[in-house]
Symmetry: C2
Subunit: 247 residues, 2 copies
Amino acid sequence: MEKLKNKRSSPSLARREHLSPPGRHAALRETSTDSLSQRVYQALKRDIITGVHPPGEALGEKDLAKRYSSSRTPVREAALRLQQDHLLKIIPNRGYFITKISVQDLTDLYDYRAAVECACAELAAMKGMNPALLERLEELANTEYKVNDRKSYENFISRDTEFHLSIAQLARNQLLLQAVEAARCQMERIMYAAIDIGYYGEFPGREHRGILDAIKKRDSRAARQLMYDHIFGSRDQVLKLAGGNPR
Amino acid sequence: MEKLKNKRSSPSLARREHLSPPGRHAALRETSTDSLSQRVYQALKRDIITGVHPPGEALGEKDLAKRYSSSRTPVREAALRLQQDHLLKIIPNRGYFITKISVQDLTDLYDYRAAVECACAELAAMKGMNPALLERLEELANTEYKVNDRKSYENFISRDTEFHLSIAQLARNQLLLQAVEAARCQMERIMYAAIDIGYYGEFPGREHRGILDAIKKRDSRAARQLMYDHIFGSRDQVLKLAGGNPR
DNA sequence: CGCATATTAATTGTATACCATAAGATTTTC
DNA sequence: GAAAATCTTATGGTATACAATTAATATGCG
């Protein structure tokens, strides 16, 4: 502890010293985020995922500040987080650039998903019996969508993400959950990009139900395997598409 | 505080042809530190890992700014990144708190490590034949340390991390590599904390060599299994320790 | 004397000013 | 007229000023 200053600047630290530490179980519903940084982050993230800002686009701090009605500071903090999410690349003294997604990035992403989501499925089957969440998963697994109907498909994307996130939640592992969240950002981006070239993915309802059933039966082996098959099935679809439309 | 306006006399910093390439090599130790934010991040991270700031400690922006000779802005950016690394928790309008590591966090961390590092070992055996890296791994696997010699053990911690990171590099997957980096932060923190209670982990040389051999023989199945055993062996040691010394 | 409320001090969130750097425009020189 | 050096301008990195929020203390009322 610093004992250098016995002046008026030390009581602040002393006061904070015995503050209650951050609890992990603070499961606050962050519906409407308060801070401006958060709002900018959410808004910009959404705009990148949905393709408002296309890959490769250069963004200046001042423009972003104007666009999202804030100053440069919140934009800067948002950008830092978006870089962690691999949605933005910050080049020092140059600015921000929306990340491009190469074929290499795609295979990396799917390998990553396989690693973390298979673990989630396995752990979900072993650990997590959360009736409310299972109920919700049942609902999500039965979500349909109409092909060539953009609005309907966008809704499906959201449900698809919620399905995978819910399984991660069943695994009750914060690190894995955050990893899946990061992966879903990229997946949503890819799915939105696919819409623009008229591609609506194959409906994964059957696979989702299979995974869910395995979890409910607490068959961790099957849950992992089915998740693996699901992810690599998706991978093959996307890679076939990407191979035909190199970027 | 005296503020000299004429700070033009700093030619050493002014003339830097240090162009920063878009490619990222996050696995490397800090080269010549570029921005002040980076330096604060690195320094604070180090201090958290090595236990200079103990778990639960409250940190104020102003104090940190003074301690690391910067203003609040770089501190803020560093803190944001450290939160992503799970080393710091930012509570809005309250301040920063060094994260505590609960037993739950430990099991989460090891499950996470198992998910990502087993995938790395498998991919390393399948994909990556990098002679230079394999050479280095051989060296690292044979690193010994003297028990009850803090300096020697700290060196081992660094080598241990480099071993696991190098395998992640062999897998050639940026997402997995970053995941392993994040996990290693926590692992180093735990290992440093263990020193303070006089515990020096069991020497993993044999296990490391086993994993490396499997990778060199391109036996992905064995590589994954041996990594799994290695991680859960470590887990059991740590959990036994944490159970006896709850914190 | 204890509890509730107002006040105050200090800290964080946000905006902005300032400085260093990098890319572009202009001029100079061959 | 072209290449190179210099100047200009714009942008990002950092410091700081200002506003909003929080926790601590003080105060009034029962």
